[in-house]
């Protein structure tokens, strides 16, 4: 085998050509998502395709494991190239038909297509979920094999890095990034070029670059998708960043709960080294850079930059006051630049297409695109990439298809535990860093959880406070004690023991925790309380004054009963009840004993006629 090492930019170009020639021999490709869709049987599906295509005459059809296609609600999802047909909910039993009808005869199978206004839509531009998006950063996600650097190179990966390292100075790179208007996608939205400039200017030769892949915000999975689907894009972004600031060593700090991301990144790093895209004198530029992967060990606060650095140093992951900022004193006390995965994945794009093209997208409150992880009570869940400033309505209704099962939109939670709940009256809010702040939320990492009329907003606030309270590292008092107090009051209200004065208490305490906490965790922890108090005060009041949970969620405030007229006496509820609280003879109406009922909802879930009602 010849040495794979690329010695210069020319080598990379000829490799690109070579791979293109190799690829032109392939007639069709079946792209199977092997990340999120694994949870819905993608592995067996791909295996079936491979087995059935392993026969003479089928050599020109390739089955490729790829990253996320985005529309996770139709998992497992496959794409067939070159036609770019998207088939969803594909089962191994569909494989024969797909091979015969589509791959051989070139016919579309309507049954496997998305349904749009009663018609089958096979291609992305005809499917509202995709047509409402602009997939720049995710362009290659789902289109290339993340386990093969050759696929990434064929899609243009490392071109931007080669260009930067061999034709631009570090200052040039920083200027381009500054001009692009890119702001950090990890939460705070700090201008990336400016931050790089600080690290570059900092004294000393020993500098570090860290990729923050801790993605702790529950409900966010875009970083996971990028690491799993296009790891080389992130590595390339790191390479360019490292060159700009003058760092020779980098780390990727990945969350422990992401085994596939760890697997793909490990593989990608090895391949990049093999091709000389990491290591010494990269592409004969005189620049050395290598990256180590570190796994987190389960602590949300380690997403905060100073805590992450402490964790990398093998310590308890506790934040420390800033300044000094990591740009001056970070890992090992040396200048360190830390960026989020999505931020770094944007870099190759900016270098490739120029700062103007990037700046042209978005608005004053943010440039370029943002990837949102759409989940919760919405028809289409998955990854959504839209220009900054796209409205919440466009994302939830045009792309996401709205709230399912005839229910109504109540709020969207954005920014995770640090964010807030944006109510229906603000559906036309443009989602960018500045506009989002005006309603008391933050952009955060881009988790977007939709809530409907069955979601209790007091319970949501309680949920987040329990979360931050559990994850508080305990170093500063306002956060450690304050979040506990807030959670206690919210628990009290949800249990029906709230008093009118609790709302005032919540408000003043929330403000104190915000003002007095050491790091972003405590400073933003009260946001879910404050935003729900502002927009859903009536729900708090119903809990306190009427001892009623309007959404039918808070256990202490609801009761279950069976409507006699609707009950068909099937006995399913009786069987499902874990505490034998339901009585009734076969084919006769059943009854729930309210004293024995533990309000688990099992009967409600199994009843075929919706006879079990919550009041």
């Amino acid at each position: 085998m010849r040495d794979k090492k690329l010695k210069n930019y020319e080598d990379l170009k000829s490799l690109h050509k070579e791979i293109d020639e190799e690829k032109s021999k392939v007639k069709s490709r079946v792209l199977v998502c092997m990340t999120g869709c694994r949870a819905k049987g993608a592995e067996e599906l791909a295996r079936t395709f491979r087995e059935k295509l392993d026969v003479p005459g089928m050599e020109e059809i390739e089955v490729v494991d790829v990253g996320c296609h985005g529309q996770c609600s139709r998992a497992p999802l496959i794409m067939i190239e070159p036609e770019e047909l998207l088939y969803g909910d594909v089962k191994p039993k569909d494989v024969d038909e797909i091979i015969k009808e589509t791959l051989i005869n070139g016919r579309v199978i309507p049954r496997l297509c998305a349904e749009v206004e009663g018609r089958a839509a096979a291609k992305a531009p005809d499917i509202p979920f995709y047509s409402g998006q602009e997939r720049d950063v995710l362009k290659n996600c789902g289109r290339i094999d993340p386990q093969k650097i050759e696929d990434a190179v064929a899609a243009g990966s490392y071109d931007a890095a080669a260009k930067a390292l061999t034709t631009l100075s570090p200052e040039d790179v920083i200027t381009i990034v500054k001009d692009s208007g890119l702001r950090g996608r990890g939460g705070a939205g700090f201008p990336t070029g400016l931050k790089w400039g600080f690290a570059q200017q900092a004294a000393g030769n020993e500098k570090y670059l860290i990729c923050n892949a801790d993605e702790g915000d529950p409900g966010a999975f875009m970083d996971r998708a990028l690491l799993e689907g296009t790891p080389h894009q992130v590595i390339e972004g790191m390479l360019i960043a490292a060159y700009a600031i003058g760092a020779n060593n980098g780390f990727i700090y990945v969350r422990a709960e992401y085994p596939i991301a760890v697997e793909h990144v490990t593989m990608a790093l090895e391949q990049a080294r093999e091709y000389g895209l990491l290591g010494n004198n990269i592409l004969n530029s005189g620049f050395d850079f290598d990256i180590q992967l570190r796994k987190g060990a389960g602590a949300f606060v380690c997403g905060e930059e100073t805590a992450l650095i402490a964790s990398l140093e093998g310590k308890r992951g506790m934040p420390r006051p800033r300044p000094p900022f990591p740009a001056n004193a970070g890992f090992r006390g040396k200048p360190t630049n830390i960026n989020n995965v999505e931020t770094l994945a944007n870099i190759p794009l900016i270098i490739e297409e120029g700062s103007e093209a990037f700046h042209a997208k978005g608005n004053e409150g943010g440039r370029g695109t943002k990837i949102f992880a759409l989940a919760g009570k919405v028809k289409e869940t998955g990854l959504v990439e839209v220009p900054m400033g796209t409205t919440l309505r466009q994302i939830v209704f045009d792309v996401g298809g709205g709230v399912p099962d005839g229910h109504t939109f109540k709020a969207a939670q954005i920014g995770g535990p640090s964010g807030g709940c944006v109510p229906a009256q603000h559906l036309d809010l443009p989602l960018d860093y500045e506009s989002v702040k005006e309603v008391g939320a933050i952009m955060g990492s881009g988790g977007l959880v939709v809530m409907d009329d069955r979601t209790c907003m007091v319970d949501v606030a309680r949920f987040f406070l329990e979360f931050t309270q559990k994850e508080s590292c305990g170093k500063c008092v306002p956060c450690r004690v304050g979040t506990r107090q807030l959670a206690d009051i919210l628990n009290k209200i949800c249990d029906g023991k709230g008093e009118p004065k609790d709302l005032k208490k919540l408000e003043s305490l929330a403000k104190e925790v915000k003002a007095g906490s050491l790091c972003g965790l405590g400073q933003t922890a009260p946001n879910p309380v404050l935003t729900t108090l502002e927009f859903f005060r009536d729900e708090y009041e119903a809990h306190i004054n009427e001892k009623r949970c309007p959404a039918g969620v808070c256990k202490e405030l609801i009761s279950f009963s069976i409507t006699v007229d609707d009950c068909i006496g099937c006995g399913l509820c009786k069987k499902a009840c874990p505490v034998d609280a339901i009585t009734g003879d076969s084919k006769q109406p059943h009854f729930i004993d309210p004293d024995a009922c533990i309000k688990c909802g099992a009967c409600h879930e199994v009843c075929p006629t919706n006879a079990v009602v919550i009041s």
Partner: protein
């Protein structure tokens, strides 16, 4: 990732190999700047030990501390800070029930309760027969499947109280 299985050998042979891999099998325990460098590797080291033994056996930790010079107090400080380190053996299967935001609004609390009831253990505990360890986690990154549970490395999505019991029954038999 964690295998979840408990290996019998509580001895230090596995740990010796791990120290060698990290170049921490030293002649003499490190001090000063060298010790700081060793300490930087503490988390990967503990992760490898946990992968090999299924948990972090205290006698092994003590041996590692003596060999490397990393104070045992420092080790425990780190171990108790992070939720993914275990000082006790875990069950054959690890069941993780997501309690993240997307799962919460889709009723994950009831799923967690159904698991606790089925197994007869609370969050964080292991069944007496060492078959199952149950823990609640925050977001498995598969919110489109909410509510989700993960058993070992497999995901089960769109859970209901009924479905979750059926899934657990399958694992109880194996």
């Amino acid at each position: 990732m964690k295998s979840g299985t408990v290996k019998e050998d509580p001895g230090v042979n596995l740990a010796r190999g791990i120290l060698e891999k990290h170049q921490l099998m030293l002649e003499k325990p490190a001090v000063g700047r060298d010790l700081e460098k060793s300490q930087e590797l503490l988390i990967p080291l503990l992760q490898d030990i946990q992968d090999a033994y299924g948990y972090l056996p205290p006698p092994v930790l003590e041996w590692v501390s003596k060999k490397t010079g990393i104070p045992i107090s420092r080790m425990y400080g780190v171990i108790t800070f992070y939720s993914q380190f275990y000082l006790e053996p875990k069950g054959k299967h690890t069941i993780r029930c997501c309690q993240g935001t997307a799962c919460h609004v889709k009723g994950s609390q009831a799923i967690g309760e159904a698991i606790e009831e089925y197994l007869g253990v609370k969050d964080g505990d292991t069944t007496d027969d060492m078959q199952f360890t149950f823990e609640s986690v925050q977001c498995l990154g598969t919110c489109f499947l909410a509510p989700v549970i993960m058993i070992d490395n497999d995901y089960y999505g769109e859970m209901t109280q009924g479905k979750v019991k059926k899934v657990l029954e399958r694992y109880s038999k194996s």
